[in-house]
């Protein structure tokens, strides 16, 4: 793929056709890993010079993750704390640089983009964060915040900025008359709408929502979820929707990806994931989704704790908590393989057995 056909400046969102006529993923990750670690400090450099070695500890936040998101698709990314779902979102949005592997936008490798194409990529992929209290500058008026990025990207002139901010606020259901207020004058749900308006102001085609409704009350959460659905239809947006809440993800997503300790363990359409969850971890998650039917639930949890990402268990990361684990699971990392059409799972149960 050569880099020049990557981005058409005025491409409308919608199924992007590649030369062959097949639909091309909007975002694709190939074997992306991300490690976080301390830089070698004085002590370890000294130790290295003296011939000794102090072990450097790395967190493998992402471990060879493959993921593709088609134009117009809503992909839900689910996992517990420390599974790397937020890191994945940040790599996709270009906030973190992956340690290895490749990120493709409309078929072009983001690492090889020219400076102007790179700018275009950063504009077209936007992010909405969990905490609307922390992600808005408390000393800026909301109108300014919404129009700041479009001015920087040359989408509007400074003269038009105020009107533009008003239009964006109206789009997310806020009174444009409030644009000279400061963030503290808004409620949590309103602030999240401001964050959405700010993300949409640069006309993105891909939105990464990292627990974007997790801090909102139920009735406000419903308002924001409806807003996401409406915007998807009216603007043709594509979403990567990151959440720990399977109910929320099930409501929004076409496809769901489950992560555990830095790896994707299952990926399937929403229907398939709930009707035939394959990975034992997914099965446990799906069974534990609380239901609103007023029937007394006997909670049958999976045992054990989530291991530390500093020292993940060998083989399949889930094996210490898995009732079906065999000897092979302790040694060999299972690859993500198809268990049915378009339904992928990384488990030895579907890959020649666990060796038990």
């Amino acid at each position: 793929m050569n880099a020049s056909d990557v981005v058409e400046p005025d491409a409308v969102a919608g199924p992007a056709l590649s030369a062959g006529g097949a639909v091309q993923p909007l975002i694709e990750l190939a074997q992306v890993s991300k490690r976080f670690g301390r830089k070698a400090d004085l002590l370890s450099r000294l130790a290295a010079r003296l011939g000794g070695r102090l072990p450097l500890r790395h967190v493998h936040a992402l471990d060879q993750v493959d993921l593709s998101v088609m134009p117009g698709e809503v992909v839900g990314l689910v996992g517990e704390s420390g599974c790397g779902k937020s890191t994945l979102g940040r790599v996709v949005a270009g906030i973190h640089q992956q340690s290895s592997g490749d990120l493709f936008y409309k078929g072009g490798n983001v690492a090889n983009l020219s400076l102007s194409k790179r700018r275009d990529f950063t504009r077209r992929v936007q992010m909405v964060f969990q905490d609307p209290y922390a992600s808005l500058n408390p000393r800026m008026r909301v109108g300014q915040m919404v129009s700041e990025a479009p001015i920087a990207h040359g989408l509007v002139s400074a003269v038009e900025a105020d009107d533009y901010a008003a239009t964006m606020l109206r789009m997310v259901g806020l009174d444009p008359g409030l644009r000279r207020r400061f963030p503290h004058q808004f409620s949590g749900g309103q602030r999240q709408r401001i964050c959405i308006a700010r993300a949409l102001a640069v006309k993105p085609d891909f939105l990464v929502c990292d627990e974007a409704v997790a801090s909102l009350d139920v009735s406000i959460q419903a308002q924001v979820l409806n807003l996401f659905m409406d915007l998807k239809d009216s603007l043709g947006l594509t979403y990567l929707f990151i959440s720990h809440d399977l109910n929320v993800v099930r409501f929004l997503s076409d496809r769901i990806v489950i992560m555990y300790l830095g790896r994707v363990v299952e990926s399937a359409t929403t229907e398939a994931l709930f009707s035939a969850p394959s990975h034992p971890y997914t099965r446990a998650l799906v069974e534990q989704v609380p239901q609103l039917d007023g029937r007394r639930q006997q909670f049958r949890p999976i045992e054990g704790e989530i291991p530390s990402p500093l020292a993940p268990p060998p083989g399949c990361h889930f094996h210490p908590r898995c009732a079906q684990a065999g000897p092979r699971c302790r040694i060999e990392m299972p690859a993500l393989r198809p268990v049915a059409g378009g339904h992928l799972a990384a488990c030895h149960l579907y890959d020649g057995g666990t060796g038990a």
Binding site: E80, S219, A222, G294, R295, R296, R300
Partner: protein, 325 residues
Amino acid sequence: MDPILSVRDLRTEFATGAGVARAVNGVSFDVMPGHVLGLVGESGSGKSVTGFSLIGLVDAPGRIVGGSVRHRGRELVGLPQSELRALRGKEIAMIFQDPMMTLNPVLKIGTQMIETVLAHDPVSRQEARERARAALGKVGIASPDERLDAYPHQFSGGMRQRVAIAIAFLHRPSLIIADEPTTALDVTIQSQILSEMQTLARQEQTAVIWISHDLSIVSGLADNVAVMYAGRIVEHGPVADVLTRPLHPYAQGLIASVPGAQMRGRRLAQIDGMAPSLLALPAGCAFRPRCVMAQAICEAEPPVQAPATGRMVRCVLPVRDEVAA
């Protein structure tokens, strides 16, 4: 059977610079022995302040200005702090959202648990340690002997919450008030905690008031549910009835706005607007400005209706026949 706890017209207010916030505005309910009551509401609905008020844990500028809380027939409102302290941890225990509110970071788990035992029971240190060890084992903590000598920071979030639960059950209290104890936990860990609470409460016949914003957790756990809005209980009844046939427009909206299994691709029912400020509550029904069924009559104090045994709804709307039947 007599209730363990009987609350009548409880009122707690906070005097702020901007006026008086009526956080708890006439709350009444009973909790039966061995039963779980889910107290559900959104932020600012007064559910946590209700929990704190029950055992006299409201600090200035807040104070209980009226009503009654009876525990096994004994009035708790107005009781001196020393007598309340004798009750807390012994008869009524509390579990908080953040277990670090319960645990002292500079003391070993064992020290704290032994202290809790000795605070109410005149037993030997050795026996207290034995009881602490047994309690840790009951909440599924492996090698409890070694863990007694660990500090809170050496535990994960889920483990700390387990320790908090073990401490709450140490004196086999008749009532546990749990304030969002699983909100900060991961899904699989939350299930573990819910399962342990369920088993322990059943074994010990402990009554539980489970305060939560999450209807779906209460759905699987509670016998009864009370829905709070702006300091009041607007609907109360057996959990299956309230969740499948809610009567109050707010309860209906709240339940409809939870994304369920069959909801994909459809619009969620949403309640427009936001919760009113407790400093400036609208006259009459506090939900009126957001209610799709509001009428002029809602500006008057809404009546309390009892459409069926054990059910209560605070609304002027006539209650549908199917429920009364």
